[in-house]
């Protein structure tokens, strides 16, 4: 089975790489296998890691309130499925409303606690660090960069006049950040590519040790 698995993996890898030449039936074959198996994979994953332990197993083992309260999410889930029935599809909005409400509530709490406050707190660093001029420069870049990049997202006033210069600095730093993130992403994708080429040359063809 191991050898068959290696050959299937090599075949699928080459099918996808064939797209570099042009769109072709081999690529389409691998693409459709990927879509079908990914959808099923996600379903199996969610069933065995979420639905089974949190609903089915919990319903079997719990008693009283903890057991019967599970009817609510089950009902909301069933309501969500009604979307496929056009006449009563509007009822699915109730389940959607629950998830939207949950996301919004969490959005406010985590927005303040997880993003705004920690980021502001981390920006309050000393501007002058005695005996360490490099850290002083770094802290200055951090403070100025954070303030000017935040200012760029202030759209209530046209970016003219006194705020033009700080916003220009903000855009420049945002560009540096985008460039760095881009470089980082390229490296991550290249390491994946190296991994696939290594698989073909090492695991499949045994050409490299």
């Amino acid at each position: 089975m191991y050898i068959i698995g290696i050959w299937i993996a090599a075949f699928l890898t080459l099918c996808i790489f064939s797209f570099l030449y042009k769109d072709n039936p081999f690529y389409k074959l691998a693409e459709h296998i990927y879509i079908g198996s990914s959808a099923a994979y996600m379903f199996i994953y969610v069933y065995f890691f979420d639905v089974k332990p949190m609903l089915i197993d919990k319903f079997r083992t719990s008693v009283g309130f903890d057991k019967w309260i599970l009817i609510i999410p089950s009902l909301l889930g069933i309501i969500m499925l009604l979307r496929v029935v056009p006449r009563i599809g509007w009822i699915s909005r109730w389940a959607i409303a629950f998830t939207i409400g949950l996301g919004s509530g969490i959005g406010i709490v985590t927005g303040v606690h997880g993003f705004v406050l920690p980021q502001i707190k981390a920006t309050f660093v000393p501007l002058i660090v005695m005996g360490n001029w490099m850290e002083s420069i770094n802290n200055l870049v951090l403070i100025v960069g954070t303030l000017t990049a935040t200012l760029y997202f202030y759209f209530s006033k046209e970016h003219k006049g006194a705020i033009r210069l700080p916003i220009r600095i903000g855009i420049s730093l945002i560009m540096v950040a985008f460039g760095a993130s881009f470089g980082y992403t390229v490296m991550a994708r290249l390491s994946l590519l190296i991994g696939r080429i290594y698989f073909l040359l090492h695991d499949w063809l045994h050409l490299v040790k």
């Binding site: 698995g5 290696i6 299937i8 993996a9 090599a10 699928l12 996808i16 797209f19 570099l20 459709h32 296998i33 990927y34 879509i35 079908g36 198996s37 199996i44 969610v46 069933y47 639905v51 609903l55 999410p73 089950s74 909301l76 496929v84 909005r93 109730w94 409303a97 629950f98 998830t99 939207i100 409400g101 949950l102 996301g103 919004s104 509530g105 959005g107 406010i108 709490v109 927005g111 997880g114 980021q119 403070i143 960069g145 954070t146 303030l147 990049a149 997202f153 903000g170 420049s172 560009m175 540096v176 950040a177 881009f182 470089g183 992403t185 490296m187 994708r189 994946l192 590519l193 698989f199």
Partner: protein, 210 residues
């Protein structure tokens, strides 16, 4: 019924989550974790919805013999095979990722090669996108080019061989200017998220009901 009930559900759910944050005691203290469990359960049902929708679209394609219907057949067959292998492994072995479970074989032989190769393919397209984005026509594009190039050269061994300071510069870019701008972006995103969430809870933003 069609508009008011969803608005009330959204308001009560969002309000209880915020209330649970301010009053970390019974009965609202652990409401966030309870609701998140409920969300995971509902998410399981939405997966069924996704599978049904995908099967519906591709079955119609197969029945009407539209061009490329053979691929639709392959899609459905691969989906059914994965479902069967997953359910069989989960029920028989109790753990999907047990080393000798068939699902583990499927995962290593089909899912990982397909997803890793699909994403590695992006390396080529990202390179052509880089050519277009990095052409140093403006000051901002030049900054983008320099930062990207320095990070890339600093992250590979040859960069260290050319000049030992390249990795240090790459690390500095990632830790200081990149972090500063990212912080500003994160604060901007968070403020936008808070305002949008508040609008949804108060029923001002209703686009999700359409």
């Amino acid at each position: 019924m069609r508009t008011r009930v969803p608005l009330v559900i959204t308001f009560i759910t969002g309000f209880l989550i915020i209330l649970g944050f301010w009053i970390p005691h019974d009965p609202v203290g652990d409401i966030q974790s309870t609701f998140l469990i409920w969300y995971a359960i509902i998410n399981g049902f939405t997966m069924v919805l996704g599978i049904v929708s995908l099967v519906h679209i591709h079955t119609r394609k197969i029945i009407s013999h539209k061009s490329g219907y053979g691929y639709s057949l392959i899609l459905i067959l691969s989906m059914l095979a994965t479902l069967w292998v997953g359910l069989y492994s989960g029920i028989k072995y109790g753990d999907l990722y047990k080393i000798d479970a068939p699902f583990m074989w499927y995962y290593n032989s089909i899912f990982v090669p397909l997803s890793a190769t699909m994403f590695s393919l992006l390396a080529f397209f990202i390179a052509s996108a880089a050519y277009r984005a990095f052409r140093a026509r403006t000051f901002e594009a030049t900054l983008l080019l320099i930062a990207g190039a320095l990070v890339m050269i600093g992250r590979v061994p040859i960069g260290d061989v050319i000049w030992h300071k390249f990795p240090v510069i790459a690390d500095w870019i990632m830790e200081i200017p990149q972090m500063a701008a990212k912080r500003g972006i994160l604060i901007g995103i968070a403020l936008g998220m808070i305002v949008t969430s508040l609008r949804i809870i108060l029923g001002i933003e209703r686009s999700y009901l359409k």
